[in-house]
C-alpha cells in the first residue's frame, strides 16, 4: 500500500519534470516563432568587412542586407537596391536604392552608406574583402543613387555586390569598426538584442527591413553548435529547431523524425599544389597526382554518399559548370605510377608533406590514395596554416571553398595569378586571362554569357595547381514545424519561412 502511494507520488513528480526535459521536435508551441539555430559556423567577427566572404556570411545576413541578393538560380536580384543600370561602355554601374529605409540605429540607407561600405572594404586594415573589389575604382553618392566607377568593363558587379561581398553596415556604427565587430548594426531582416561573443546571439525581427512583411520569424537565437554528435539530440529535444549537421548524423536525424535536407551550394574541396616548388615543377608529377585521386572514395567515406565527386569548383548543372572538362583526369593508378616512373621516382621514393590546419579525414584519404601509387605522404598539422598557405609558401595542402555568388570571382580566386586559393601564384593557366576578360565584358543577360563563362572555366581547369575532389553537401536538419527554406544556392534565406504557430 505504502509502496503504491510512493510510486504514485514519484510518478506525479517525475513525469511532468521529465516531459519538460524531453519534448517533441515537432512541437512548435514552446518556441512560438523563435528560430533556434545551432551553427557550426558561428561568426567570430560581426563586422562584414572583417568576416569576409566565407560561410559565416549566412549568419551575418540575419543582420545585414546588401545591394543585391541571389535567387534560386543564383542570379542577382534586388535587395537594398531596387534596380541597377550599366552605362553603355560597361565601366560604370548605378544602383538605385529603395527609398525610406533606415539602419537599425536610425541612420538612413542611402548612397553615402554604400560608398562608405565600399571604401571601408577597400581600405580598412583588417579587411578580408580587399581582393574582391579590385574592379571598383570609386563610388559617387547622389542621394539614393550609388554610382560605381570601374577600372575595367565588368558586368559581374551586381553578382559581386551581394551578401557575400558587400553586406552594408550603418556608416555611423562602422565609424568604430572594433565596436561594430561585436555590436552589428545593419538594415537586414533582424536586429541584434544580445550578443555573447563566440557563443550566442539573440535577434528580433526588424520592422524597418524592406521586405519585413515576408519575414515571419519574430525572434532568432543563434547558438554556436556544440559537438557534432550532440546536435541531433538538441534538435530532437527542441533545444534547437534548425542546424547544420554532419553527414554521419543525417541518418540519426531522419530516424528522429526531423527534416533533413541539402541546400544547394558551391562547395568544392581541392588538393592544392605549388608548381613553383619541387616536385610539382615537373608536369608528370602533377599529372600523376591527378590520376591518383579516386573522388568517389571521398564521397562515400566523408559524405556518406550525400555529396558529389567533382573536378570543378561548380556543381553540375550550374551555368559555369563546363561539361567538356568533365573527367579530364580519370582515376588511373597504373598511369599515375607510370608517370612517376617517367619522372624518375620509383615506388616510395617521392615523399611529400601535406600541411593542413587541423585533423581532417580528407588528408588521410589523400595519404592513402597517393600511397597506392607509391607517393609517401606525411600529414603535418599546422595551427598557423593560414599564414603560409595564403603567402603561397606551402608546397602541398588542402582547401575547401563554399563558393562565391559571382562565378567569375570563384574562377579568379582559384586560378587567377593573385587568386588567394591559387597556391602556385603568380602562375595562371594559358588563355585564362583572356577568357576572364571576355566574361567581364559580357553582360549577364547576354545569350552568349553561359558559353563565355564555361570557356573561362575550361581555361581555368587547365591549371596544374588544383585537383578538385568532391563537393560536401550543405546538410541541414530542421524541425518539421519550420517550413522549407528558399533554395538559393549557398544562401540561407529566411524570406517566407514560417514556424508553426506564427503567421
Amino acid at each position: 500500500m505504502r509502496a503504491t502511494a510512493l510510486a504514485t507520488t514519484l510518478a506525479a513528480l517525475l513525469v511532468p519534470a521529465l516531459s519538460a526535459c524531453g519534448g517533441d521536435a515537432s512541437a512548435g508551441a514552446g518556441s512560438g516563432s523563435t528560430l533556434k539555430w545551432a551553427s557550426s559556423y558561428f561568426p567570430a567577427h560581426w563586422d562584414p568587412v572583417v568576416s569576409g566572404s566565407g560561410a559565416q556570411f549566412r549568419e551575418l545576413a540575419l543582420v545585414y542586407a546588401s545591394l543585391t541578393k541571389t535567387d534560386s538560380k543564383g542570379d542577382a536580384v534586388p535587395d537594398l537596391a531596387e534596380s541597377w543600370k550599366y552605362n553603355s561602355a560597361g565601366d560604370q554601374i548605378t544602383f538605385r536604392l529603395r527609398s525610406g529605409l533606415t539602419f537599425s540605429d536610425g541612420e538612413p540607407v542611402d548612397a553615402t552608406a554604400v560608398k562608405a561600405a565600399v571604401e571601408r572594404a577597400k581600405k580598412q586594415k583588417n579587411s578580408a574583402l580587399f581582393g574582391d573589389l579590385t574592379s571598383i575604382e570609386s563610388v559617387d553618392a547622389h542621394g539614393l543613387d550609388a554610382v560605381v566607377h570601374l577600372n575595367q568593363v565588368d558586368y559581374q558587379i551586381p553578382q559581386l555586390l551581394g551578401q557575400r561581398v558587400l553586406q552594408i553596415a550603418s556608416p555611423k556604427a562602422a565609424a568604430e569598426p572594433e565596436k561594430l565587430d561585436q555590436n552589428p548594426v545593419g538594415a537586414g531582416p533582424f536586429i541584434v538584442t544580445q550578443l555573447v561573443p563566440g557563443t550566442k546571439v539573440v535577434l528580433k525581427k526588424n520592422p524597418a527591413y524592406w521586405d519585413a512583411e515576408n519575414i515571419h520569424i519574430d525572434r532568432v537565437e543563434l547558438t554556436s553548435a556544440p559537438d557534432a554528435s550532440t546536435v541531433v539530440s538538441g534538435l530532437r529535444t527542441g533545444v534547437y529547431n534548425f542546424a547544420d549537421i554532419e553527414p554521419s548524423q543525417a541518418a540519426a536525424a531522419e530516424k528522429a523524425g526531423l527534416d533533413v535536407f541539402v541546400q544547394p551550394g558551391f562547395n568544392a574541396s581541392n588538393i592544392s599544389l605549388n608548381i613553383n616548388k619541387a616536385p610539382f615543377d615537373d608536369d608528370r608529377v602533377v599529372d600523376a597526382v591527378r590520376h591518383a585521386v579516386d573522388r568517389q572514395e571521398f564521397v562515400d567515406k566523408l559524405t556518406f554518399g550525400r555529396g558529389e565527386s567533382t573536378d570543378q569548383p561548380f556543381p553540375k548543372g550550374y551555368t559555369a559548370y563546363d561539361p567538356e572538362s568533365e573527367n579530364a583526369y580519370p582515376y588511373d593508378p597504373a598511369l599515375s605510377r607510370k608517370l612517376l616512373a617517367q619522372a624518375g621516382y620509383r615506388a616510395g621514393a617521392l615523399k611529400l608533406t601535406l600541411v593542413v590546419p587541423a585533423e581532417d579525414p580528407q588528408a588521410e584519404i589523400v595519404q592513402s590514395q597517393l600511397a597506392k601509387v607509391g607517393i609517401s605522404v606525411t600529414i603535418k598539422i599546422d595551427k598557423n596554416w593560414a599564414t603560409p598557405f595564403f603567402a603561397k609558401d606551402l608546397t602541398f595542402s588542402l582547401y575547401a571553398t563554399t563558393g562565391r555568388d559571382s562565378a567569375l570571382q570563384t574562377l579568379t580566386a582559384h586560378f587567377g595569378p593573385d587568386g588567394p586559393l591559387n597556391l602556385s601564384s603568380p602562375y595562371e593557366p594559358g588563355g585564362f586571362e583572356a577568357a576572364v576578360a571576355e566574361v567581364r565584358r559580357t553582360p549577364l543577360d547576354d545569350p552568349g554569357y553561359p558559353r563565355v563563362l564555361r570557356a573561362a572555366t575550361r581555361a581555368g581547369l587547365k591549371s596544374k595547381a588544383l585537383v578538385f575532389t568532391y563537393s560536401s553537401p550543405n546538410l541541414f536538419a530542421k524541425s518539421p514545424s519550420l517550413s522549407d527554406l528558399p533554395k538559393n544556392p549557398a544562401h540561407i534565406d529566411w524570406t517566407g519561412v514560417t514556424l508553426s504557430g506564427s503567421r
Partner: protein
C-alpha cells in the same frame, strides 16, 4: 617495498593491469592483426572475425589501432611523470636544506606553475614548437612538478627536525651527506606514491590532448584520438567508444590503485605487515629445518 606492495591485493591487481598495459605498449604494434593505417572500403563495420572491434570511418581495423596507439599513451604519461619528478623532487628537498632565499624562490616558482592551466599551456607550446607529443608532455611535466616539490619538501621537513638529523648537523655533516643518509630514504615512499598518481594524471592529459587532435600527427592512432573519432559516429557504432574509454579508465584506475598500495605499504600498516611477514618467515624456517644431505 616491492614485495610488500605485491603482498597487498590492490598492489597485485594494479601491477597486473599496469604490466599488461606496459606489454601492450612494448608489443602492441607487433600484436596488431592488421596494418593500423591501411584504409579499406569496409567502413564502420560491426564486430566480426576479421575485425574484432570493427572498423573506423575510413575502414581501418580498430583493434589494430588500439594496440598500435597504446605506446604513445604510455610513453606520454611516463614522460609527464618522470619530468615532473625530475624537476620537482630535488628543489623540494633542497628548499629545506639550502636556506630561506632558495626556499622563497622555489615556493614562488611552484605557486606560479600551479596557477598555469597545463592543458592550455600544452596547446600553446604545440602552437609554438610544432605538433608533437614529446614537447607537450615535457612542458606538462614541468607544470605538474609542484606536486613532487611539495611532497618532497613536506617529507624533508618532517625529517629535518628529527633529533638524528640535528645531531648530524651538530656533528658537522654536509648537506649532501644528510640528504643521502637520512632524507632520501624518508622521501622515497611518498614520491613513489606521487609518481604512481602522476602516471594516471599523465594518461588523462595525453588522452585529453590526443582527443582534441593535439600532439600527434594523423593518421597515427592514439586512445584519445580513437575515442574522439568514435564519438562522431555514435549512430553507426554506438558501442565503439567503449574500448578506448575502458582502456583509459582502467589504466588511470590501476595507477591510482598502485599509489594507494604504495602508500599502504610504506605507512605504519605497511611496516607492520612487513614485520609480520618477516616473523612468519622466521617461524616457518625454525619449524621446518631442511635436513642436510637431501630433501623430503
Amino acid at each position: 617495498m616491492v614485495r610488500v606492495v605485491l603482498s597487498l591485493t590492490t598492489g597485485r591487481i594494479a601491477a597486473g593491469i599496469l604490466g599488461l598495459i606496459a606489454l601492450l605498449a612494448l608489443l602492441g604494434p607487433w600484436l596488431a592483426p592488421q596494418n593500423p593505417l591501411t584504409t579499406s572500403d569496409d567502413t564502420l563495420a560491426a564486430v566480426s572475425g576479421a575485425h574484432w572491434l570493427g572498423t573506423d570511418h575510413l575502414g581501418r581495423d580498430v583493434l589494430s589501432r588500439l594496440l598500435d596507439g597504446s605506446r604513445v599513451s604510455v610513453l606520454g604519461s611516463l614522460e609527464v611523470a618522470l619530468t615532473a619528478m625530475a624537476v620537482g623532487v630535488l628543489p623540494g628537498i633542497l628548499s629545506v636544506q639550502l636556506g630561506r632565499v632558495f626556499e622563497w624562490i622555489t615556493l614562488r616558482l611552484a605557486d606560479t606553475l600551479v596557477a598555469l592551466p597545463f592543458l592550455l599551456f600544452a596547446v600553446a607550446v604545440i602552437a609554438l614548437l610544432g605538433n608533437g607529443i614529446t614537447q607537450a608532455m615535457l612542458v606538462t611535466g614541468v607544470l605538474v612538478s609542484p606536486l613532487f616539490y611539495r611532497v618532497a619538501r613536506a617529507a624533508t621537513l618532517a625529517v629535518a627536525r628529527s633529533p638524528y638529523v640535528e645531531a648530524a648537523v651538530v656533528a658537522g655533516a654536509s648537506t649532501g651527506w644528510i640528504v643521502r643518509r637520512h632524507v632520501w630514504a624518508k622521501v622515497l615512499p611518498p614520491i613513489a606514491v606521487a609518481l604512481a598518481q602522476t602516471i594516471g594524471v599523465g594518461f588523462v592529459i595525453v588522452s585529453s590532448l590526443t582527443f582534441l587532435g593535439i600532439g600527434v600527427q594523423p593518421p597515427a592512432p592514439t586512445w584519445g584520438g580513437l575515442l574522439a573519432s568514435d564519438l562522431g559516429y555514435l549512430d553507426q557504432r554506438p558501442w565503439a567508444p567503449l574500448a578506448p574509454a575502458l582502456l583509459i579508465t582502467l589504466t588511470v584506475w590501476a595507477s591510482n590503485l598502485l599509489a594507494d598500495a604504495i602508500r599502504d605499504a610504506s605507512g605504519e600498516a605497511g611496516r607492520a605487515l612487513a614485520g609480520r611477514r618477516r616473523a612468519r618467515a622466521r617461524r616457518t624456517a625454525e619449524a621446518d629445518p631442511v635436513p642436510s644431505g637431501g630433501t623430503r
